[in-house]
Assembly symmetry: C2
Homo-oligomer: 106 residues x 2
């Protein structure tokens, strides 16, 4: 899914990850985290794709919403399990979306 | 590949796309655009993944570098072909990266 029709300024969290060979429980947890993110105040949207590298971009109204999501208990537990088991490497970037353009084929 | 070790502030272009069924020439052009982006002044890195949706995030030193890349002739031609043939829908976001965190398994 593409998260369209958002109005800058707002925030994006770009999460890029390489997994280990031990991904038991990963898919279920990733799906649960996506459902949980959608329930958070200030959540705007999410986009996700995976090949050898996985990219998840989540969109938020402001930095406070990102901080609350970071501190959400179940999300914190999932992140800790991720560092112990699933992630070989990741990079997380917090960005202010300043402009955006959309295209839909007619 | 994960683009790590970049120092905020810098800029990210998040490009999210759904393709049509007519992707003749798409892969070759996407690879050529990635090579060409790497040659541009102010280019910092690129991350890309695809399932049903494709996400490409490119990183740039400043907004001027993004504008130059937007106006680069071969890139402009590829984008026009993309709108005519390959893209069902896309969303392009220009973002200022304010903070980042990295993790590498020891």
């Amino acid at each position: 899914m593409i998260a369209a029709h958002l109005k800058p300024p707002y925030y994006a969290v770009i999460f890029t990850a390489l997994l280990t060979d031990n991904i038991e429980g990963y898919i279920e947890t990733a799906e649960r985290m996506e459902e949980l993110a959608k329930e958070q105040e200030g959540y705007l949207g999410i986009e996700s794709a995976r090949n050898d590298v996985g990219i998840t971009v989540s969109y938020w109204e402001d930095l406070n919403a990102i901080t609350r999501w970071k501190n959400q208990v179940e999300h914190t537990e999932a992140r800790e399990r991720g560092r112990k088991q699933w992630y070989q490497q990741y990079q997380l970037r917090i960005c202010k979306v300043e402009r955006e353009y959309g295209f839909v084929k007619q």
